[in-house]
Amino acid sequence: MILSFGWNGPLSGLVCGVLFGYVLQRGGLGNGCRLSAQLRLQDWTVFNVMFTAILVAASGLYVLELAGLVRQTDLFVPTTYLWATLLGGALIGTGMSVGGYCPGTSIVGAAAGRLDGIVFFVGLIIGVFLFAGIYDRIAPMLTAAAGPEAQTLGQLLGLPVWAVLALLIGCAVAVSWFTRRTGTSPSITCAD
C-alpha cells in the first residue's frame, strides 16, 4: 500500500495550514523580535524548532519509505539553481533581520494582531510585482548553475540516507549544545 494520497484540494490546504499556523504561533515564531534575534545570535529558537522539525520529518519519511508506504518519487524534491537559491535565501534573511519576519511567519505574527506583520505581508506582494517587472531581464540568471534535478544530499555526498540523517542530527545536537546558554530567551519582547 502507498500512502501518498495526492490530496490537493481546499480542505487539505486548510487542515495542513491550521496545524502549521497553530504550531508556529505556540512555538513563539510569530514574534518578529525573537525571529530576528536568531540572526543576531541572541536567541536560538528558530534554529532549534526548524532543525528539529526537519529531522523529525526527514526521519519519518525515511521510515515510511523503508516500510514501503511512501515512494521518494512521489514527493516533490526541489532542484538547486546555485545563484538563485543562494540569492533568494540571502534576501529573505535580510528581510528577516530588518523587518522581523519571513513570508510564513509574517502571517503568524499578523494573526496575533501585529500590524507590522500585516505590513510585511503587503511588502511581500510589492516584492512580487517588482520581480515580475524585471523577470524577462533576469530570467537566465534564475536557472544558471543548475544542479542535477531533484538532487538530495545523499546523492551529492554519495552517502546512504541513514548516514546523512545521522550527520545532520549530529550537527544539530552540537549546535544546540554549544548555544544552550542562549537557547530560547525568556526576555525577548518587543513590547514598546
Partner: protein
C-alpha cells in the same frame, strides 16, 4: 487573560515535523507560504491591468486561459495558517493589536522597516522559487540539496545583516 508560555523549542519542532510529515503523506509536497502573496499579486494585477498582466513573462502564465491563481492549495493553506495562528494566539492570551519591531524606532519607522523587509523577502522568494517554509523547511525535510543551499544563503547572509543591524534592535 494570563499569557501561556510558548512551547519548548524541541517539542514545537517535533510537532512541526509531524505536521510537515502529515502534509507530505496527504499531498506529496511540503508546507509553503510565499506562493500565496504571489497568487494575490497575480490576481490583483489581472484585475487592475489585465493586458499587461497577461503579457508579463512571470504573471502571465498564472492567469492564462481564465485561470484564477487564488484557487490553489497554497492559498488555502495560508488561509488555514492565519486561522490556526489566530486560534493559538487567542488560546495563549497573546491576541492584541500592536506594532512591534526594532525598539530604536517609533511606529512609523517600524512599519517602514517591515515594509522594506517584506519587499526584500517577497522579491527574494521569487528569485529562489520558495521561502523559509517551502525550501528551507520542506525542501530540507526531503534532504534536497536545494533546501540546504537555501539555508546557507538565509543564515549566512542573514547573520551578516543581523549583526550589522544589531544596534537598532537594542
Amino acid at each position: 487573560m494570563r499569557q501561556r508560555p510558548i512551547w519548548n523549542a524541541y517539542l514545537a519542532g517535533a510537532a512541526l515535523g509531524l505536521v510537515l510529515l502529515l502534509t507530505f503523506v496527504l499531498t506529496g509536497h511540503g508546507l509553503g507560504a510565499s506562493g500565496a502573496p504571489t497568487a494575490v499579486a497575480a490576481a490583483a494585477s489581472d484585475v487592475l491591468a489585465p493586458t499587461a498582466t497577461q503579457g508579463n513573462g512571470y504573471l502571465g502564465p498564472m492567469v492564462a486561459e481564465g485561470n484564477n491563481p487564488l484557487n490553489s492549495w497554497i492559498v488555502w493553506e495560508v488561509l488555514g495558517m492565519g486561522i490556526g495562528a489566530l486560534l493559538a494566539a487567542w488560546w495563549s492570551g497573546r491576541l492584541r493589536l500592536r506594532v512591534e519591531g526594532a525598539p530604536r524606532f517609533g511606529t512609523g519607522g517600524r512599519l517602514a522597516l517591515a515594509l522594506f523587509g517584506g519587499i526584500a523577502s517577497g522579491f527574494g522568494a521569487r528569485v529562489s522559487a520558495g521561502c523559509t517554509s517551502g525550501l528551507g523547511l520542506s525542501g530540507a525535510a526531503t534532504l534536497a540539496t536545494a533546501g540546504f543551499v537555501f539555508l546557507i544563503g538565509f543564515f549566512g547572509f542573514g547573520l551578516l545583516t543581523g549583526l550589522l543591524t544589531r544596534r537598532m534592535w537594542q
